[in-house]
């Protein structure tokens, strides 16, 4: 958990990555860390490839953009092709197994997880794929505590959706656990 984490979350416009980034950042604040969160804007944000970035550090954070991700999330093919480059050696990359067919060569540990599918099938709403992903990546990376990310999540989601979101998050935690014994590619 200590040290600086550069996190890049990417996917298509409607997948809620910015919210995921905000929740992650707020979780880190609860953990007492410094954070900076940025995102890509523009017409691209409506579709195609968009991204949200979070830097978490016990130190003051100067440069606010992610240069080389420690943690990468890719929820669609286009964004993986566009934004996955530059992952750090031994970094962590999580892609959606249902939506991403091709993963470029990377120095990171790559996990291909059924994020959207889990959201659709086990929560019944694709909409919460971002929360499933959040669960998976925080559990896999350990950069924020499970308690903090849960608290941060529940503060942000609309009233009435808490249970659904908590479930999605926990499914994400679960995916992480399973994954730890199923690394897809490490090169």
């Amino acid at each position: 958990m200590p040290g600086t984490w550069e996190v890049r979350l990417s996917g298509s416009g409607g997948q809620g990555l910015i919210l995921a980034g905000i929740i992650l950042a707020e979780a880190a604040i609860i953990d007492g860390q410094n954070v900076v969160q940025t995102q890509s804007y523009g017409p691209a944000a409506r579709g195609g490839a968009s991204k949200a970035e979070v830097i978490i550090s016990p130190e003051e954070i100067d440069y606010p953009k992610v240069e080389r991700p420690d943690v990468f999330l890719g929820l669609n093919q286009e964004s993986v092709l566009k934004y996955m480059t530059g992952c750090k050696e031994n970094g962590l990359a999580i892609v959606d197994s249902g939506l991403v067919n091709h993963v470029p060569p990377s120095k990171a540990r790559v996990y291909s997880l059924p994020i959207t599918e889990t959201a659709r099938k086990q929560v019944g709403r694709e909409l919460v794929a971002n929360v499933v992903a959040l669960g998976a990546l925080s559990a896999l990376s350990n950069m924020v505590s499970k308690e903090s990310v849960t608290t941060a999540l529940l503060r942000r989601v609309p009233k009435g959706t808490e249970d659904m979101n908590r479930k999605a998050l926990e499914l994400g935690f679960g995916l992480a656990e399973q994954a730890l014994s199923a690394v897809v590619g490490e090169n």
Partner: protein, 383 residues
């Protein structure tokens, strides 16, 4: 207000800073990347008894805040490049009629529509020279979310103290970035209110000032019944074409700022003392420069960073001193070289002035700056 640290966006910090400073009248027209300021204030202002007004365009917004200010309110508008261009005529009016107001310009990539969502710092010179005719201007430029809050409060303080429009020159990086910030409690930060006349109506000359050159300002509706115009005017506020009075007025407008440069101009400088090379940067770019400077120091290069928070009036004395000391200067900004021109002017040949410019819609990367630092440094005196 909570004392907990929160994740706050730069634009949000600006909106909250404005409320903290006592701003209770906002008028604007949406434009990326400043829109969040309006959206937040649309919700927040009515909660604190303030007024939020969405006008038909930027010209009207600027006009409306001047009208609002005359009733005694602290006022603000927010915009970006295209809207900033449109506001220029009425910004000049505010200069001439000495109306306190704050204009946030969250810079995006221009010219023209450019790229609405891309960061840039291309309006630095426009902030100074955008309206016709000679006029002094104050512009502040924050580098972090926390500073967006603080400089917004300062912007109001300066506007009220000197009866001037103050430009809060943000950039998309700072406006859209979210950081952990603990907002100050009321009272923690100084808040300046405008000086009102204490004399009777008969003795009130709205443009007559004491030594500090800023006249007390009466509110409309309080019985002073005075005249405000964008024409040159005498102390009484009425139009004149007399050269000697014009001269006097225009001088006073400049002097009220120039006499208080020490109060107005703030900047930070880090590791400049022993530096052979000082990088001058502001806003989002300064964040990349900070990183680059750290890396350069790690490489054993004596490099510092000078970061103006007040960009206009230009911190001429401080930068002049750096130049006089013979340190190499490197200006990093997201434009084609704007503050650079001022640095060159002020250096006046006393030190080398280099630049690291980028204007392609992306925040300059520390690497790029570091490379430039190395390049310039190699030829630094003593190396």
């Amino acid at each position: 207000m909570s004392t907990e640290p929160r994740l706050i966006q730069g634009n949000e910090a600006c909106a909250e800073g404005a409320i903290y400073a006592g701003m209770r009248f906002y008028a604007g027209y949406p434009i990326t990347p400043s829109t969040e300021i309006a959206e937040i204030l649309a919700r927040r202002l009515p909660q604190v008894g303030g007024k939020f007004l969405q006008m038909e365009d930027e010209i009207a917004s600027m006009a409306a805040i001047i009208g609002g200010s005359l009733t005694g309110a602290k006022v603000m508008t927010a915009t970006s490049g295209p809207g900033f261009s449109l506001k220029q005529e009425n910004i000049g009016y505010a200069c001439m009629a000495e109306i306190p107001c704050v204009i946030a310009n969250v810079q995006r990539l221009g010219p023209s529509t450019g790229v609405a969502t891309a960061p840039a710092q291309g309006d630095v010179m426009q902030a100074r020279w955008g309206t016709h005719g000679d006029h002094p201007i104050i512009a502040l430029t924050p580098s972090s979310v926390r500073e967006a809050f603080e400089l917004t409060v300062r912007a109001f303080n300066l506007a009220e103290q000197f009866r001037v429009p103050v430009i809060l020159l943000m950039d998309e990086v700072v406006g859209h970035m979210r950081e952990k910030v603990t907002l100050p409690q009321p009272g923690e930060f100084p808040v300046v209110n405008r000086v009102k006349p204490t004399c009777s109506r008969e003795n009130y000359y709205p443009y007559k000032a004491d030594g500090d050159k800023t006249p007390p300002m009466a509110c409309f509706g309080e019985g002073y019944r005075y005249h405000v115009t964008g024409l040159f005017h005498d102390e009484s506020g009425f139009a004149t074409e007399k050269p000697e009075i014009i001269d006097w007025q225009l001088k006073r407008l400049h002097e009220k700022i120039n006499q208080h440069l020490d109060e107005i101009i703030t900047y930070t400088s880090e590791e400049t003392e022993d530096a052979d090379l000082v990088v001058i940067a502001y806003g989002g770019t300064a964040r990349a420069v900070s990183r680059a400077v750290k890396l350069a120091r790690q490489e054993g290069r004596k490099v510092g960073i000078f970061r103006p928070q007040t960009i206009w009036p230009f911190p001429e004395a401080a930068i002049g001193e750096l130049a006089a000391s013979g340190k190499k200067l490197l200006v990093a900004e997201m434009n084609y070289g704007q503050l650079l021109l001022e640095v060159q002017r002020v250096a006046a040949g006393r030190s080398e002035v280099h630049s690291c410019l980028q204007s392609n819609g992306e925040l300059t990367q520390p690497d790029v700056i570091l490379t430039k630092i190395r390049e310039v440094y190699e030829h630094a005196p003593g190396n």
